[in-house]
């Protein structure tokens, strides 16, 4: 079972993607030929048991990691054709990331963390701060702009991460267990927030989670097992 990999309207397209980790002693096949197409503006949840290759797939799709076989296209451009520099710039401009909690830079304040991607892509500092404040407002944290991560709750930290991932209006947002360290109440809040942002901004979301309550908020759930896509379905609307 696989996705429609012929679709030309796909913003992210994976064809027979393979990834093998070679630790020297053992070889681990983390991805064994994944096919996946993500349409623009779509929100998909990648789910599956521990070790099925969810995070690896996300890392490969976002260009954080190299693949050992197959092809990945982002907006029709083959990722493997880009060098590290181009890929990094691409990430800075077009991609947003939401990781598990505690992935903010602990030494920077909320506002500084959020504006960092803008500064990297050369936005003037004043404009960057303005956009960062808008993003913080969008996640309801404009009051917390001068606090460092250690002074925020887990849910608040994750909302800062979301603000950071959205501040440069990326085309695609990748989230790796964005609610992984949160209680169920905060998880729901975060997912609703992501859902709203997705609908408002028409941005594409690829979210890895092992929590069905989170997954069911997506347009589509991609179930993985043993490095392959096992099922691909739309959840019941909530």
């Amino acid at each position: 079972m696989g996705a429609d990999v012929t679709g030309t309207d796909a913003i992210v397209l994976a064809k027979e993607v393979k990834k093998t980790y070679d630790t020297g002693k053992v070889k681990v096949d983390a991805l064994r030929g994944v096919n996946l197409a993500v349409k623009e503006g779509e929100m998909i949840a990648v789910m599956g048991p521990s070790g099925c290759g969810k995070t690896t797939l996300l890392n490969c799709l976002s260009g954080l990691d190299d693949i050992t076989g197959g092809e990945i296209f982002i907006r029709g451009t083959r990722l493997s054709d880009m060098d590290d520099r181009t890929r990094t710039s691409y990430r800075a401009e077009k991609i947003g990331f939401i990781f598990q909690a505690y992935n903010l830079l602990p030494v920077l304040t909320s506002a500084e963390n959020v504006e960092l991607p803008l500064l990297i892509s050369g936005t003037p500092p004043k404009e960057a701060r303005k956009k960062a404040m808008e993003a913080l407002k969008a996640v309801g944290l404009e009051e917390w702009q001068n606090h460092k991560p250690s002074e925020l709750s887990g849910g608040q930290q994750q909302r800062v991460t979301i603000a950071r991932s959205l501040v440069n209006k990326p085309e695609i947002v990748f989230g790796d267990e964005p609610t992984g360290n949160l209680d169920s109440e905060s998880s729901k809040e975060i997912m609703v927030l992501l859902r709203d942002l997705n609908k408002q901004n028409r941005q594409t979301f690829v979210i890895v989670t092992h929590d069905y309550n989170v997954g069911k908020l997506a347009d589509r759930i991609v179930m993985m097992r043993d490095g392959k896509v096992e099922k691909d379905f739309a959840p019941q609307p909530f």
Partner: protein, 963 residues
């Protein structure tokens, strides 16, 4: 029990205690040992950091051993079998001749077995003579003629090939000269030399050999002419059957006799006939004692100076252990969670520390040998003359260094282990950073109050004992205590900044408040270390608690180029988030740079002083001539008439001298001294500067005028004040306004009030008018000449000096060039400072390795953050830039802070050390900048590899959670 044995026993005791602990908690010991081997690269770095203390101590001790050995060897080489020299003095401490039978009878007594502490004795005549080589006309005015009876001599006199000189070689008109004199005269065997002794009758002799440069041939390192004893007695001194020395060998070999020197003297006193005032000069023992005391001084000086490096090393050890603990925090948390006590964690670290400390002590003492080798090599090249040396060390020195280093390291590790074992289990397991100022308010309050109490105690004891150390440290500690006590109530930025500023102000005392409040204070070398530590701690506190302001400024400036802004922002935010770690690194860098800067500044003052000192010390006279025999004033003028006429010499001021003894203040002891009389006209326009002057006189020249006309007052040389920097000579200490009691050659006493103490220390004398000298003693010598030269004549001062020595060779005139004398004296002092700089510069290794370790650790602990940064768009070079900028920020801040504080203290030392009188405040910018550049570049080189590693991390790899 000597110190080496004591230290060894302490170390063994500590190891025994650790051994018992290991037996009781084997699992912990196993964990510790496995931790050591877990990351070998890190083990190597840790050991390198830990061995610094041992290496510095070992280096200092080995240098002292080598110097002691050199001086001892020189003593043995230049005195041979002779341990004691007997002479006879009259009541003005002048040598007199006595009958040779005294020596003969002594020799008979020793040969008869009546003296178990004595090996032998030999009669000798030693007298100052002037020598002139007829072949090339070169003079040497202060040689020693050595009358020796070869058949009785205690040491053989050897020729240049090491063969014994025969009686024929030194009989009649044949003489043997030694290598020292041959070098001065440029003389060779076969040359005819002219010898002028006290009788002023020139004797002509032919050099048969140049003696082998050891033993008798190097006697007391003097320039020697060996002649047959009876020839000296009859033909040179005109004192048949009289001698002025008996050389005595104490029982035992050349290097053992001095051990029974005192017993030998007691025995000699019983054997010698009464009627003479004997003087026993224990040459060998004194030489060995001098070697020991020089070695002690050197080792103390270097150990005191290296305490800066050792303190920096201790800070590094703490830093290393705190980081080790941070790295292992999750596992430590888990250990605590499953039931390990805090003490168990401390013990595990302690066991691990013992392994490192043992490695470090062993390797450190060997590294110290290498440091000593490098330093001695530099020392010999600075000392000039190609001083040959072989590294020499006593095994006990290495043992002391290893034991002391081990104990310092272990003590630091115990403290560090105790500190790191205090952790919050949950935060540890989840690897969440401890909040800044995590301690409870009560703990800070208690620590603060204790510090205040301790500070008050130190302050009070400083005031009562007039010790500068207590007065400086006490209030500083009180302020720090107040800051700590108020942590929870007042923003620590304000309290600690105020404390820091107060400590700097109090230590530098720019308004001279201390003398006003506390009067004159006692202080020594320890003050240098204390002020250094206080200033640097204060600087670090101010920097750490105000870093955000500094950073704001830096980010604004550095981030002007838009692409650099994110790099700047991240790079300088990290160091300030780990304040303890950054503070320690800053402390290490600043402390070392502070010391090196102060030393460089003192060396600069010394160099800059030469001109002014020459002017002030020499009274404007470029040359000073001292003759063995009186030169009548008119004879002198007549013989230099042509030089005066042609403008080579512009002025000659003859002075008179007389031997006197000064009664030491409050003691029954007398010190032989010189009374010096200047002419009225010279005194009236005297330009010799005064270090201290009685307040009765408005200027130095007024004081000199008083000396010219008032027989009740005098001025004395500068040696009576001792020396703050550099070696001090003379044992007499005199205060301004003190009345001196002088014993004249006929025994009567004269009193003068000291109204001035001179700057110059080269000519040790009581300065009065020539009339005063003539009116008070019969023994007046016309033997001192102050000579001013005219520089436009085309003659150098050295040439004029050589010419005068040649013209007055019959009088044994020795001419000193003031500038040369001062320059060589200041040169030695400033070279010593520079050597010290290099020695301490090695301490920079501590700072640099510290930052290297921190960078390696930062890369490891920030893996995930690096991943995030890469994910959100940081390029590789931006990651590299972030780390390099961070390192540069810490190292440059430390370096600049150290240099600035060093300059500030130097500015005060400029006044306190009396440099302002002679030298301009010249900052050796080139030296300092070079130092800063080298320190900074090496730091960058050390931190580049781990930073590169960080930049190369693959983002997905970095993001993967490791725990």
């Amino acid at each position: 029990m000597n110190s080496a044995t004591q230290l060894l026993l302490i170390v063994l005791l500590v190891l025994a205690v650790v051994g018992v602990l290991v037996l009781r908690r084997r699992t912990l010991a196993k964990m510790a040992v496995r931790n050591v081997w877990r990351k070998r690269k890190f083990t190597v770095i840790i050991t390198a950091g830990l061995l610094i203390a041992t290496a510095m101590i070992s280096g200092s001790l080995v240098m002292a051993d080598t110097l002691s050995y050199l001086i001892k060897k020189d003593t043995f080489d230049s005195t041979g079998a002779v341990d004691i020299v007997i002479s006879v003095k009259d009541n003005t401490s002048r040598d007199v001749y006595f009958d040779q039978s005294v020596a003969t009878n002594l020799m008979v007594a020793i040969a008869g077995g009546n003296a178990n502490y004595l090996d032998g004795a030999a009669p000798a005549v030693r007298e100052s003579v002037s020598v002139l080589d007829q072949a090339n006309g070169l003079p040497y005015p202060s040689a020693t003629i050595f009358g020796v009876n070869l058949s009785q001599s205690l040491d053989p006199l050897l020729d240049e090939n090491g063969n014994p000189v025969t009686p024929d070689d030194i009989s009649g008109r044949n003489v043997v000269i030694n290598q020292g004199l041959a070098d001065e005269l440029n003389a060779n065997p076969g040359d005819t030399i002219e010898i002028i002794g006290p009788t002023n009758v020139p004797e002509f002799a032919v050099v048969s050999h140049v003696a082998y440069n050891s033993g008798l041939g190097r006697w007391q390192n003097e320039k020697l002419v060996f002649v047959d004893l009876s020839y000296v007695q009859n033909d040179v001194m005109l004192q048949p059957n009289d001698i002025n020395r008996i050389d005595v060998s104490a029982a035992g070999s050349i290097d053992e006799g001095y051990l029974v020197s005192d017993q030998a003297v007691t025995q000699l006193k019983g054997l010698l006939p009464p009627g003479y005032d004997y003087v026993f000069d224990e040459v060998k023992k004194d030489g060995v004692d001098a070697a020991k005391s020089t070695a002690d001084q050197i080792s103390q000086l270097f150990i005191i100076m290296s305490s800066f490096t050792i303190i920096a090393g201790i800070a590094l050890i703490i830093n290393i252990f705190v980081m080790l603990a941070e790295e292992r925090k999750p596992e430590m948390g888990i250990s605590r969670a499953i039931g390990m006590q805090r003490g168990d964690l401390t013990q595990t670290f302690l066991f691990e520390g013992v392994v490192y400390a043992l490695f470090a002590a062993a390797i450190g003492s060997i590294v110290g040998l290498a440091i000593a080798g490098v330093m001695m090599g530099l020392f010999s090249s600075v000392a000039g003359g190609g001083l040959a040396f072989t590294l020499h060390f006593e095994p006990s020195s290495i043992l002391v260094a290893a034991c002391a280093g081990f104990l310092i390291t272990l003590l630091t590790i115990v403290v560090a282990s105790w500190r790191v074992s205090k952790l919050n289990i949950v935060r540890a397991i989840r690897d969440i950073p401890e909040p800044i100022l995590a301690k409870s308010g009560r703990k800070y309050l208690v620590t603060g109050v204790l510090s205040i109490a301790l500070g008050l105690l130190i302050f009070a004891s400083g005031i009562s004992s007039k010790q500068a150390a207590g007065i400086y440290a006490g209030p500083s500690l009180i302020l720090l205590g107040i800051s700590m006590a108020l942590v929870k109530n007042v923003n620590p930025r304000w309290t600690f900044t105020v404390s820091g500023m107060f400590i700097i102000w109090w230590t530098l005392d720019p308004t001279n408040l201390h003398p006003y409040l506390f009067g004159a204070l006692k202080s020594g070398m320890e003050m240098f270390i204390l002020t250094g530590i206080l200033l640097v701690i204060a600087g670090v506190l101010i920097a750490v608690f105000n870093s955000d302001l500094l950073l704001g400024g830096l980010v604004r400036t550095g981030g002007k180029k838009r692409s650099l802004l994110p790099v700047f922002r991240v790079a300088i935010s990290y160091p300030m988030n780990k304040r303890f770690r950054t503070g320690l690194s800053l402390f290490i860098f600043a402390l070392i740079m502070f010391t090196v800067t102060v030393l460089a500044m003192i060396a600069s003052f010394e160099r800059e002083s030469v001109d002014a000192m020459t002017q002030q010390f020499s009274g404007g006279f470029e040359l000073m001539g001292i003759s063995i025999r009186d030169i009548p004033t008119n004879a002198f003028s007549a013989q230099v008439q042509d030089l005066t006429d042609s403008g080579v010499i512009s002025r000659v001021e003859p002075s008179v001298t007389a031997p006197i003894a000064i009664i030491k203040n409050g003691a029954n002891e007398t010190v032989p001294y010189m009374l010096l009389g200047m002419s009225q006209s010279m005194l009236e326009q005297n330009a010799f500067s005064l270090l201290m002057r009685s307040s009765d006189y408005a200027s130095d020249s007024e004081a000199w005028n008083a000396v010219a006309h008032d027989p009740g007052v005098a001025v004395i040389d500068g040696t009576v004040r001792g020396q703050t920097y550099g070696p001090s000579s003379g044992t007499l200490r005199v205060d301004l306004g003190q009345t001196l009691t002088m014993v004249m050659s006929d025994g009567h006493q004269v009193h003068v009030k000291v109204i001035g103490i001179m700057d110059q220390t080269m000519n040790m004398a009581v300065f009065t008018s020539s009339d005063f000298v003539k009116n008070n003693t019969y023994v007046v010598q016309q033997n001192l000449f102050y000579i001013a030269t005219a520089h436009q004549s085309g003659w150098t001062d050295d040439e004029v000096a050589k010419e005068l020595e040649k013209r007055f060779v019959t009088y044994g005139l020795r001419v000193y060039v003031s500038r040369d004398t001062i320059q060589s004296y200041m040169g030695i002092v400033s070279s010593t400072m520079q050597l010290m700089e290099i020695f301490l510069g090695m301490g920079l290794v501590v700072g640099i390795s510290g930052l290297g370790i921190i960078t390696i650790r930062s890369v490891a602990e920030r893996r995930q953050e690096i991943g995030v940064m890469r994910a959100i768009g940081f390029q590789r070079r931006m990651i590299l830039g972030t780390f390099m900028l961070e390192t540069s920020y810490v190292s440059l801040l430390g370096i600049v802070m150290g240099v600035l504080l060093g300059l500030a203290l130097s500015y005060r030392l400029y006044d306190w050390g009396g440099f302002s009188k002679y030298s301009a405040f010249v900052i050796p910018w080139v030296d300092l900048l070079m130092l800063v550049a080298i320190a900074f570049l090496i730091t960058l080189a050390a931190t580049l590899p781990p930073s590169r590693g960080a930049a190369k991390l693959a983002p997905a790899e970095a993001l993967r959670r490791v725990d």
